[in-house]
Symmetry: D2
């Protein structure tokens, strides 16, 4: 039984606490939050857990084997580092840290101490994303041509981070899991339409190894909620629509391929048209696991701790995502000027 | 009665010919196409029209008052220039020309001769786009914050032009009509996934005067057909979904605004949150005119000729669109490097 | 503060208990369930409530002012009657009772003792149904022509009641609330496709006072989930789609009306066509209250108790619904043979 | 080459004429319509065809091998009978005739003369319905449990026939083709909401041989257009949505089955629940033929004439459909009173 402490009982912390208490081999040992109202809610919901005002107390508690950091991003680094130094395994809310430098330090600390360091990239643990990963791994998609995602709605404006750090982080985490090719360069554009608020709309293009591309459209100021990702491949194409109550993942046997042909005397542009085959086949909607993603994730965290296994969304994955957030933000400030990501490959 | 000749009876020409023959004050005088099969189809459908092999014959025919150019883009300039020089009014398929330089020459020629020069930006004449224009003009939208469009499907790959010249041209033409602010700079990214074919996927960001932004997502290699535009404004937001059989335009009374407040002793980021008001009001789906857009357009062309009126989609509009296509293509080759469009303002 | 006891902590009871504990002027005094597992769950969730094995103990507890009956339908009558006889106010899960005779006895008992008797027709307390009610009351819909509802999915087969008592009860409760005209006759058809199980599919037509009609389509064995109701009226028509995450209620300014015309010499069937006007106007999607329906309902129950007010979904409403369930089941057994509902009017 | 004459050039006749002229082995010999305006349109569109005022002239024309009857229903019988007596093959618009008696006479006449008699049940020739038929024939669906269809919109009110004869006829024709079990009884309800007009809304239940059921919901006075059919089976279920631009047919590997189990000591209703297995598998969207249904039908008509083959939608199919229309109308007048269809089986 792994005893887990949760730091931060605001928006997401209660979900983490619930899954920890539901998972079979973990125990919700304690909860820390500086807000008296949050502590009161936590105490009435989990009478058996210790409720702390200071995270420092939680981090040094010997009954706590692992710490979940669910605070605002700017405190992730300090708390996670202190927890690792106290010998605790750590699961951090996304984004992992405020900078790739902080993320690298956490990775190093965890590695040296042989502790599990994991990032809460929740979507990776959904039935939908797991299915997409296996469709790509199994070769059903063929060569991945592109990943094109839209994640928009009328959302809560953040005061400290722009929409990239709030919404694009989800897509970067999913992409990091399902696509093996690493990004080489990023071009991002965006705008803030509400005076005094950070950018609420951004479009990010990533150039990947081997010629594939990715594009993310994120927006806090959209009239409708869209959560849709298209993945184009040489064999099949995928539409992942997370707003759909069922049928979230559709696999299309559609595409374009070049017919092989030898000699020909037709005019060049007619040749081109003749050699393209358009394929319009069936659509297939696989049944997905409906197990709650966060519960799956907590169980995976516990398994990694027990067996000293590398998590699916470990520190290096969190670091890659933060590096992309940094690169995108940098390009956005320069109106799409492309930023090379060579340094990212070195670090990961 | 205006006698009109159609040059090019391939994919789009038959639609133009049909509308010319249906419109009240125009007459389909002649049709020219170098392909014998096309001429045969034209002759059986329009026994009363003259059928020509050479466009030169059509252009010099005195029974022809106006010429419609529906050939591939690379021939637009030569044919339109010859028609203007023969004193004919001209309607050109989009994109107006292969370069902004060509477009500027055509404008000059038409102006000098007092002839009507119009570009076939068909979407401008749909009930949907007309309604959007009036929602913006009437102030219902408020300040326009952004225009974000997706136009993707598994489409016919072109051999000579990339997806921007084939698909984004529609959105640029719509935008040119509904939004008054002019683009100042463009950043575009894209990729070609089929060897030997031009770019089949592109994402274009436009920075407009006054701080608004536009983004276009175009793709020939998508598994599903999407034709959706979001327009965000300070008062209302619009979703225009052209795939919807009815309810193409929805108007959302939604948005975010800043409350005015004077003194306060709260912490800065809480102030920020407190001052934002989220508005989630009703949705309204206006009934749209269902008259065929192309017929409306032909009638408008005839009216402009008869009254020496400036068309809604005249040469300068066509020129602005071509300038944006050039700028986007230039940026795309440099991975999103932003291209300034100062020259465009000068020309328009 | 009204002390409330919940009898039955199976599928729906936990939701009722949660809303009772969240509502401002009610207190969750006790919970009874014969299942040890259910009692254990209740105790860990509500440490302050008394947990009972026998409902009789709960019903005679002086700290309990009101009882919520959330057991299987066949026990509603016995428990509710005992609760009323102990002087408790009563809220009963739908359907109110196994027969209209039982329902009538409960009404009489509550009336004689001056106690509040309410039925948990939850949908009546949703923002969507409240809005539909006001659209009809305000005259926006005009004369109601029809109510046509589809409520199907792959659902849990019940062993003791057919699909009418499980699903159509929702639509009958909504209809009873939004439409004033009372049903005069019912014709129902249906079938059971799984040997040993009750009817899993049924179609019910109701003939209402004044010429309006209603139709309900219910099915446990459908591949997709549909929850859609159309309401046709002389002025406007409504589509209520409960599966939609937002935009649940749409109001259509569409319809057919007869133009007034005096003398004419045209042929009869041409006259008929000429005199019909088809109206295709705008669509309007009102913003709805998003407050949880069950919480609204519990607060309404408490308000009715405190002020001796008649509930929106009181015993007579529950009785009318049960009468319709009886009539439909009777007609279904006779393959649609119409059943008159005169007795229902007398009772209500 | 089969010479075909079209009688009636109103709403549907032009489509038939176009397909006859496009089909490879048929020739559009002549067109008859009593309306001068219709004749003028026909002549300008088909300069090579003979244009007649009287259908009698067309029917006795020796250049005409086959006659297509596209007039209002009330004239079908007289014209078709005359055509058969002149030795012409006949294709009749649906519904085949105004009564089953008339339909039987036409069948007998065609049989005696060895002529092809076919009914224009167009939907039978769509890729969607052909695919559904093969899914049922191949056993993919298993035993058919039910057929449940909704066909509603704001439609043109007919003055002489009710909505059953106008809309339900489509569903009955599709059902007649895809399901082998014959209807034994019908219960129908409905209402007319516009004074002076026939019933604009109807709900029809059919009891089929072997225990399957069918239900049709038709409505001329609905705010939205719905064209959706659900087919439930023991192995798979189908959703056929004709409004969908693509993905019209979806096949669901979903259902409920009874597990075989021997001895058990649990209580009866728990046994029942335990023995039911709910299957929630994948969804499959087969690619469909996109060839125009009417063209396919005309070619089939010609093939049947050339080879003396029985058409897929011959006179007996048309007769069965008319018998069901009669039965449904009869039951509707008696508020759902079930009507036995024994006579229908005898005739077919």
């Amino acid at each position: 039984m792994i005893g887990i402490g949760v730091i931060g009982y605001g928006y997401w912390g209660p979900n983490l606490a619930r899954c920890i208490s539901e998972a079979e081999r973990s125990e919700l040992a304690s909860i820390a939050d500086f807000s008296p109202a949050a502590r009161k809610r936590a105490a009435s919901r989990y009478p058996a857990a210790r409720i702390e005002e200071n995270w420092q107390t939680l981090v040094s508690d010997p009954r706590v084997d692992a710490v979940v950091v669910a605070t605002p991003t700017r405190w992730h680094f300090e708390i996670a580092l202190a927890a690792l130094r106290s010998g605790k395994h750590v699961l951090i809310e996304k984004p992992m840290a405020s900078s790739s430098r902080e993320a690298a330090i956490l990775i190093e600390e965890a590695d040296r101490r042989g502790l599990t360091l994991m990032v809460d990239h929740t979507f990776v643990y959904t039935g939908a994303v797991q299915k997409i990963r296996s469709l790509i791994t199994d070769g059903a998609v063929g060569d991945v041509y592109y990943y094109d995602s839209t994640r928009i709605n009328l959302g809560l404006f953040q005061s400290d981070v722009n929409v990239i750090w709030d919404l694009a982080v989800h897509d970067l985490a999913i992409m990091d899991f399902v696509i093996d090719a690493r990004p080489l360069a990023v071009s991002a554009t965006g705008a803030g339409h509400i005076p005094g608020s950070p950018e609420n709309m951004a479009h990010i293009t990533l150039y990947l190894e081997g010629g594939a591309t990715a594009h993310l459209n994120v927006n806090w100021l959209a009239p409708v909620k869209i959560r849709r990702t298209l993945i184009g491949g040489s064999q099949r194409m995928i539409v992942y629509d997370d707003v759909e109550p069922s049928e979230k993942v559709k696999v299309y046997d559609r595409g374009v391929s070049i017919a092989e042909e030898s000699g020909s005397t037709t005019k060049p542009d007619e040749i081109h048209r003749m050699l393209l085959n358009y394929r319009m086949g069936d659509v297939w909607v696989p049944q997905l696991s409906v197990k709650e993603a966060l519960l799956t994730e907590i169980e995976h965290f516990v398994t990694c701790i027990e067996n000293s296994k590398k998590p699916l969304t470990g520190g290096t994955s969190g670091h890659r995502v933060v590096t992309l957030l940094e690169g995108a933000t940098q390009s956005l400030k320069r109106r799409g000027y492309p930023v090379e990501l060579a340094e990212m490959k070195a670090a990961s």
